[in-house]
């Protein structure tokens, strides 16, 4: 056998391995990208104590706005402060451990509860709840989902790079969503604005495009 024939034989011999290695590389990286990466990217954090939205919702008259209200100046109060909760929770009610933690560690010591907010957006984004809820007539569920019906708080998954919640990007690592509240990224805002033909200029500055939300 000539030298060149020998080389050709050797070459064809490594072809099988090449395909095998390609498949192994492909499969491994797909596993890394789809399975391992999301696990590494997010750390799980616990809320200071559990909270039952459903239970509270039954007790109030004005739905979500009973606790998550608009202030007199139109700004949105967000997560309730201790002052609002302390009215009812001055003393421990019921027998749950979470209630005891809340009253003994926070109410009695006058400490605000360091809630981890699933929907917290970067500070560079301007978002007006009043414009969406009061003027636009949107309900809370459209963006926040049926959280008012939840009986406990899910773990807070914090993005190790950005520090924001996984709920912003969405549970699905590929970014696909089934419901409007599955994601809270810029594209999701934009999608709705375009679909509904919302005025594409900032109310304050009259500037369009990025400047609607990034003042």
């Amino acid at each position: 056998m000539s030298e060149s024939e020998e080389k050709a034989k050797k070459g064809s011999g490594s072809g099988g391995f090449a395909i095998l290695f390609f498949i192994v590389g492909l499969a491994a990286s797909l596993i890394v990208g789809w399975v391992i990466f999301p696990k590494l990217l997010y750390s799980q954090k616990k809320q200071p104590f559990d909270f039952n939205h459903a239970l509270h919702n039954e007790l109030v008259d004005n739905g979500c706005e009973s606790c998550h209200f608009f202030r007199e100046d139109g700004s949105y109060a967000g997560v309730p402060t201790l002052e609002q909760c302390a009215g009812c929770h001055e003393d421990v009610q019921g027998e749950t451990e979470d209630e005891a933690i809340f009253v003994n560690e926070y109410v009695k010591n006058g400490r605000e509860v360091p809630w981890l907010v699933y929907s917290r957006q970067p500070d560079c984004v301007f978002f007006s709840h009043a414009a969406h809820v009061k003027s636009g007539g949107m309900d809370c569920k459209t963006c926040h989902g049926p959280i008012g019906e939840s009986e406990s708080l899910k773990p807070y998954e914090e993005n190790r790079i950005t520090g924001y919640s996984r709920d912003i990007w969405g549970k699905n690592i590929a970014g696909f969503k089934k419901n409007t509240w599955d994601r809270m990224k810029m594209d999701d805002c934009s999608e709705c604005h375009v679909k509904l033909g919302v005025k594409q200029n900032s109310v304050q500055t009259e500037k369009g495009a990025c400047f609607v939300c990034h003042k």
Partner: protein, 741 residues
């Protein structure tokens, strides 16, 4: 089959393809872009409910009405308070940046005791009880030794309840040595006392004036109620009111004036009398006022026409005869002219002669107690506490002469001569002040010849500072009783100098006190009650807030709600105000000195041969000269024509600089009879040859890295010059020399 290089390449290609088909690169890119736009270490202000609190900022001398924006319980922004008399929704730059002092790390957090040497303090934190107890022991001992008169006190001003409490404490304790920081208000008060025969506060009806001559008053440089002055200046411009500025330097005020009279320094009184001489010579004065409501006009008329003939005045002041005559005629022809004085921000009282010369100019044209003129207004007297009962020790102590000599045979016209204090202490073998309280003032920085003041303070056995932030005076204290910060306390703020309205403002706590601090009033009440006897009776309040509320009486609720009470005043009628006491053109107290004195410019310290140049201070809105140093924001606004790096910049005429071999930006050594400083030179035509101009308000030793060590304190280079009439400090500059470094 064999594993070779190609196999690994295939593995890499497969991995690459797999990664590309996974969300990893896209998600990672998105996250990194968010991360880089929102660095986790960038502070993000907490969200919360926005609310506003109206208050008064006492950082500047005039007190600015402010509106503080809060987010929950954090103060985040200061704006001007709508409707505040004079400034109407605006505030000065110092007060606007006052948030930085509120949250400053230099705020004193609890009582401090110096366990090191004087001037090289080693601070030990002590409890309030220990601090009050120690001061009480010292006070008791002094009283027992019959030395109650050796307790002295320096406050920022004598208006309002806080200075009144200190004065009351000294009275009940038995000391006549209550002092305030000097300002041109002292000279105005003395001039009005001599010419009107009444204890009055000066009021300027600036908004109605239609011609303004300012003899060095820094209308746009922080004189008077600074924001009101800016507003008045804008209104004059709109109404085409002519503003003439006599100033040896092209100050901001001079630059914006309609006419700048580049006067020789220190000759303002000569110019005023020169203008007066033209007016009387040409018979342009108000005959009605001179004949019916004034006395001694003819003698004064002869005096000014004889001594201040245009030729002489032109020679002394450097202003041409025809310019003087034109200004005099315009001034006399105006229907509501006004003449103002008090150089720069009025940090130095000045010569009473000068104030009288300028006020006589107003009187000459009838602009006294008239629309658009200068008003002698009754002093605001809402602090009406019954006089404290005095025990024997207090009576004996109060009968002693004042340490600063005020009210003595030599200085009968002055109520206090704080600028003399350092010299008196330094000249004595044993300090005549054994104990000193300092509140709302920083005398070790602000008094002239500050090195001598520091030496004097080191000689005082026991100094108590009521500062809220560390300053040069607190550094010399034995005990610091930290006061609530300016946004943490109630305090009444009476009308600013020159307001022709009755105004009381109320500073309110915008947030609760951040540290373990107290009201100075509470400290005095605690001390008085610990000392017992008549002192305790004189301080019967449960605390300062109760004292303030009771003092303000029915005004309290309105003040709490609205933030201020302002009542318009009308000028006192001539028939009424000059019925029993006519206006005196040439008061007896200084007639002799004026008659015998030459028309030459008042002298300043230093030998002209040894110190051929004259150094003048420059006041600026961007440099705080009061009890508080510049905030970090404010110091950033100081131009490089005042401060370059860590060195003060002095202005010098190119001609003078050429003679000294100095060029722009060069470092030089500035020497005066009082001290020496390394400076940088700025060549400018703003000053005449032979003149140097140096900013005042720099050269602090603390309290933080933003201000400490920047530039030189002008007060280290100048000493007080006694006014022969009042004894007040009349120094407008000092002789100096400059050499290459």
């Amino acid at each position: 089959m064999k594993i070779d290089r190609r196999s690994f390449l295939s593995l890499g290609v497969g991995a690459g393809a797999g990664i590309a088909l996974s969300p990893l690169p896209w998600k990672l890119t998105d996250d990194l872009s968010i991360w880089t736009q929102m660095w986790p270490w960038t502070p993000v202000p907490k969200d919360g409910e926005t609310n506003y609190v109206n208050s008064v900022s006492t950082l500047c001398r005039c007190g600015c009405g402010i509106k503080v924006r809060k987010v929950d319980d954090r103060a985040v922004k200061i704006e001007g308070q709508e409707g505040w008399p004079g400034s109407e929704g605006n505030a000065c730059a110092l007060c606007l940046s006052g948030i930085q002092l509120l949250y400053s790390p230099s705020a004193i957090q609890m009582p401090l005791k110096n366990v090191g040497k004087k001037g090289e303090p080693v601070w030990q934190q002590i409890s309030w009880d220990a601090a009050i107890g120690e001061i009480k022991e010292k006070l008791s001992k002094l009283r027992e030794e019959g030395k109650s008169h050796t307790l002295a006190c320096i406050t920022g001003s004598d208006k309002g309840t806080v200075p009144a409490l200190f004065r009351r404490f000294l009275n009940a304790y038995g000391s006549p040595n209550f002092m305030t920081m000097p300002s041109y208000e002292d000279a105005y008060e003395t001039a009005l006392k001599l010419m009107h025969g009444t204890e009055s506060a000066v009021g300027f009806d600036l908004e109605n004036s239609d011609y303004v001559i300012s003899f060095g008053a820094g209308i746009l440089d922080g004189w008077g109620a600074s924001v009101r002055m800016f507003k008045a200046r804008s209104a004059w411009k709109d109404k085409k009111v002519k503003v003439v500025q006599a100033d040896p330097r092209l100050s901001n005020t001079a630059a914006k004036a309609d006419q700048w009279l580049a006067i020789n320094p220190g000759t303002e009184s000569v110019l005023a009398l020169g203008i007066a001489a033209v007016i009387v010579s040409e018979n342009l004065h108000s005959k009605e006022f001179a004949e019916k409501y004034a006395q001694g006009f003819d003698i004064w008329k002869n005096f000014v026409t004889e001594k201040y003939a245009p030729g002489t005045v032109a020679q002394i002041t450097g202003i041409k005869e025809d310019v003087i005559a034109a200004v005099a005629k315009e001034f006399a022809a105006a229907s509501a002219p006004i003449a103002l004085c008090g150089r720069g921000q009025g940090n130095t009282p000045g010569s009473v002669h000068e104030f009288m010369a300028v006020h006589a100019l107003n009187a000459l044209v009838g602009s006294v107690n008239r629309k658009g003129g200068v008003w002698a207004m009754p002093k605001q007297e809402y602090v009406n506490w019954p006089e404290p009962a005095l025990d024997e020790t207090a009576q004996k102590g109060l009968a002693e002469a004042r340490i600063d000599g005020a009210g003595s045979e030599k200085y009968p016209l002055s109520r206090c001569l704080t600028a003399r204090l350092a010299a008196v202490i330094n000249e004595a073998a044993d300090s005549p002040v054994q104990m000193l309280f300092v509140s709302g003032a920083n005398p070790v920085y602000s008094l002239p010849d500050s090195k001598a003041v520091k030496t004097a303070f080191a000689k005082i056995p026991f100094v108590v500072s009521f500062a809220s932030h560390m300053d040069e005076t607190a550094e010399m204290a034995d005990i610091v009783l930290p006061s609530h910060g300016h946004l943490e306390r109630y305090e009444d703020v009476p009308a600013a100098l020159g307001m022709n309205k009755t105004v009381i403002g109320l500073a309110k706590p915008v947030i609760k006190a951040q540290h373990n601090t107290r009201y100075p009033g509470d400290c005095l009440i605690a001390l008085a009650q610990a000392l017992g006897g008549t002192l305790a009776e004189a301080f019967h309040w449960s605390g300062y807030e109760e004292c303030l509320e009771k003092t303000l009486g029915d005004k309290w609720e309105t003040l709490k709600e609205k933030g201020f009470i302002a009542e318009d005043c009308s000028p006192p009628d001539w028939n009424q105000s000059f019925a029993s006491q006519k206006f005196v053109f040439m008061p007896e107290a200084c007639a002799q000195a004026a008659k015998s004195g030459s028309a030459a410019a008042p002298q300043i310290e230093g030998d002209a041969n040894r110190y051929p140049l004259i150094l003048l201070p420059v006041d600026s809105m961007r440099l705080a000269c009061g009890p508080v140093a510049d905030t970090p924001f404010l110091i950033k606004t100081v131009s490089d024509k005042m401060l370059r790096g860590k060195e003060t910049v002095i202005e010098i005429n190119p001609e003078t600089a050429a003679g000294l071999g100095l060029c722009e930006g060069k470092t030089a050594i500035l020497t005066t009879p009082k001290g020496e400083a390394k400076v940088k030179v700025c060549l400018t035509q703003s000053v005449a040859p032979g003149i140097l101009a140096m900013p005042r308000g720099l050269g602090h030793s603390g309290p933080d890295e933003y201000i400490a060590g920047k530039g030189t304190n002008f007060n280290e280079l100048i000493g007080p010059v006694e006014d022969p009439v009042s004894g007040l400090d009349a120094a407008w500059g000092i002789r100096a020399k400059l050499a290459k470094a």
